[in-house]
């Protein structure tokens, strides 16, 4: 009985799709950084961190959950926090209820800064991603990206279980 072995190479359709996807995957991050840096002096990862905090009660979140939300390692977040802390946009402190947890807080200055950075950032996202797509394609993209994200091992809820 012939074992059905997984098809080894990509066919033409898959090849074209892969090429287009990988182009987006490599160009989108630099495009986001390029838009944020001139006016706001932050990169996209730092933007995500601050935006994540701004939506939390007390604009505060534990490092671990923040890292998960921003799709980054704890180490990367820690370094980023050091930079943001030096600029006074963010603050770290021990969780009073549990001394081994660290919580990150967005300062007022940080809040002002992210609020001023947001509009042009959002409109750039819109221009690059949503404007070129039809409503049906946007809906299709949600499902497609979710499936790939799942195959990559992404957690279902970006904030994870917050006890």
């Amino acid at each position: 009985m012939a074992q059905s072995t997984p098809p080894p190479w990509l066919d033409d359709q898959e090849r074209r799709t892969w090429l287009a996807l990988i182009t987006v995957v490599t160009m989108l991050p630099s495009a986001l950084d390029a838009q944020l840096a001139p006016g706001s002096d932050i990169n996209y990862f730092e933007y995500t961190v601050m935006a994540g905090l701004s939506e939390q009660p007390d604009r505060t979140l534990q490092m671990k959950h923040l890292a998960l939300f921003a799709n980054g390692s704890l180490s990367r977040l820690s370094h980023a926090m050091t930079r943001l802390e030096q600029r006074g946009w963010v603050r770290r402190g021990k969780d009073p209820t549990n001394g081994r947890l660290t919580v990150a807080t967005l300062t007022d200055e940080g809040y002002d800064h992210i609020v001023s950075a947001a509009p042009s950032h959002v409109s750039e996202v819109r221009r690059m991603v949503f404007d070129p797509l039809t409503p049906a394609q946007i809906s299709a993209l949600e499902e497609i990206a979710s499936r790939i994200a799942a195959a990559l091992g992404a957690p279902d809820d970006p904030f994870g279980p917050i006890p």
Copy 2:
């Protein structure tokens, strides 16, 4: 007459889509690197460079075109070539017909190496991207990613005009 101003914020649907897309965009590169590094000692960018060369006549291409194909800057490529050259997988030389062009060539050792790295790489791409999707979704993704890539300013033909 009310000017139709561009909608400032993302609605729920767009938000979910953006979240899923950005998760893919941030996780896919590290997943590709993680798969390649252990067995092959290269990152995805270096893989793309060598794979691109392997498909050219004489396994040779000019630096500029190679950079375009690999979605990277000339500087990034130059640094990568230095690393690959030190391992003997690639070679640089001046184009005899035009002394200010540099051509990159994949060596036999480089060819062997990329050939041995390819199967597991491709099957990982398949597992992460194509297996989770239906044929209709793959086809939709091609169009969607192409449109976004165009909005990001990607050239139509990844090899560009090669004179």
